[in-house]
Amino acid sequence: MSRYEYDAVVVGGGVSGIMAALTLSDKGFKVALVSKGDPVCCLSTGCIDVMTGSGGPLKGIAGLPADHPYRRAGEETIREALGSFLKIMEKGGLPYTGTVEENRRIITPIGTAKHTCLVPMTMAGAHFDEGEYLHVVSFKGIRDFYPSYITSRMRNSSFSVFDAGVSTTMGIAAKFEDEGFLSRFISWLQGIENPYDRLALPAVLGLSNPVRVMKRISEATGRQVLELPTLPPSIPGLRLFRTLKAALQARGGHLYWGKGVSSVESQGGQIEALTLATTARAARVQGRAFILATGSFVSGGLYAGRDSVKETVFGLPVFHPAERRDWFHTDFFTPGHAIEKAGIEVDDCFRPLGADVQNLFVCGSILARSEVMKNQCGHGLAIATGVAAAQACARGLA
């Protein structure tokens, strides 16, 4: 059993956990990241939703109650965190565009508009508002992407279909890695009739370097090329995760991808080590400080039992509606659903309330009162609180 001690151990490999780990690595701390499986951000659109509302994200955040995690992080940290995210993605070869000052509306695969803030460069042209002049290219047999949804909603749009030989988003994206396939696709595109300036494709332009593929198509056709989000498996979500993860590895962060934490060792208000369940012998990871970023119910950070909601790694006290009947509502997606507020309550340093631990910090959607669905703030909240918790942790470590 190793006696090696990390400065910080982050539990949870999603956007929030990786951003926290990156922030600490940049400050020179030795970081380990522990994850149980891949994060749900791989299933997301890859867009960074910061806060819903017409006046821009910051105005929306200012209107949140004072105990919302965003308000604890503060505007300055939110700006800093999103700025550092943009830099990381730029350096990682998957540039994002947008600013925290305003929200944008992008086209969804069903022809409606989605509010978001930062988008991958390949979705920069997906503005919903810039008229409806759009030609959609789909792929034969592709599941869950029906261009007629878009053309039936948008008057000035048309579509055509390419036979890629495969019909899954993963399969097509892998084909775009191949130069021969790309050339064939481009020469087919040049042959079709397309009256519009914008060329929209499902998000399958390669697994790793979509900007290169986008530029190639754009230059060859003289049209603006854009990707539209798809249902899972979602390639832009996968690219987001892989780019963040590679950035952490390049900074010397250690990853322990396995079956999660099986036990926690602590003494006198300090957590000392975690035991990881692995396929073989359990491994032990020791740290001076710990960050919890395991996400909410879907990611497994919270678990709803018969009478109470549990936090699954450290057993922290969880804030939730007291009566079990209040956990339910006829419509799960109703904004303001009471269970959405469930999570870990923290102090201004993102340390959990009501637990006797000094060296544990909490970030991401596991935070109480974050109401991610109502506020449409998933990745934005993850990034901002990840950085904020890491900064608090760094102050504690110094």
Binding site: D38, V166, A174, P233
Partner: protein, 405 residues
Amino acid sequence: MKFEHCVRCTLCVENCPVFKVNPEFPGPKQAGPDAQRFRLDGERSVDAWVKLCSQCKRCEIACPYGVNVSEIILKAQLKYSSEHMSPFTAHLFANTHYLGKLGSSAAYLTNALSSTSLMRGTLGLMGLSSYLPLPEYRFLTLNRGRRRKGRFRSPRKVVFFHGCYLNYNRPDVGRKIRDLLTYLGCRVVMPRQTCCGLPALGNGDVDIARKFAQVNARELVSWINKGYKILYACTSCGLTLTHDYPETLRIPEGRKIAENTYNVHEFIASGVEDGTLTVEFGPVDRHVAYHIPCHLRALGIGYPAARLFEKIPDLKFHILDEDCCGLSGSYGFKKKNEGTAAALGEIAANAIRAVEPDALVSDCGACKMQLGHFTGLPALDPSEIIIESLRPRAPKKAFMKRRPT
């Protein structure tokens, strides 16, 4: 039943290399948890595509809900094989151990023959793929050489489970790893051992796998009882010893073996980090791409060789862990998988080329064969990099220069 915990999120699908390039394979979600409910009634298996899974185990590591996706598929593969006639190649590769024995005892003849076009043609007719040269065999295998090395009284007693590839095909690398361990003060023993059993499992022959496992288990446990730790360098052997022995094959001593078995670099890195091994790393002026084998990921122990690389001055290394090399042991040597293996090899090779390294490093023999072929770069074991770092300060005898035998 664990397959019922699947919420159909498709994270496993996003991580499946075969699904990415072969439309015939419906992906781990369908091949595993989705199809499992139809297998429960014990009817004869009909889905031949289940055999297209290469058992890289990426799906299982990706699953946040703890579903044992690849194990479900493995069991379905074994069920399918037990109910259908296996092709010739499956019998051949299930017994790679005997193949190695035979091949190495007449190494010159084997190597000369296997490169001739007549032989390749014959093998092609028998169902072998042709894009990759067959691995060469060596006469002076590890188990023909010295079986014990290092001070007898050393407190660090280890058994080196070298597996088939290091034994029959790359004994030169095997000896380097042995020498590295003795240089670090270990007593190294290489007892009688047979194939770990993974090729047999992968080729649908659970009986042979169990037979091999029982032979190894008896031997290994006798050394564990004497205070030895078991070390492996081949990550697939390691995964079989620590995961399949206790779980899939239910070997009674399996749990004990899993508790006492370590990756060789995990063993060294832990020793260096907690100060029980004092090593002074010298500079290595190299820029390498470290391709992480799928089965190292699956072990869940992190990337221990990278922990050592960090300590080597001047060494620049890139960790590449998102692409499967596609060969997956004997999988890519079969004609029906040739397209899949070659497409994946090309994707992984592109990722390596993108970082412009002067060599590639990997723990796995199959990854090295495949990616060395596709990139044309020298393919090294992590231990060879560590030896390069230690050699200048070590006594001359510690790491003898060896030509590949």
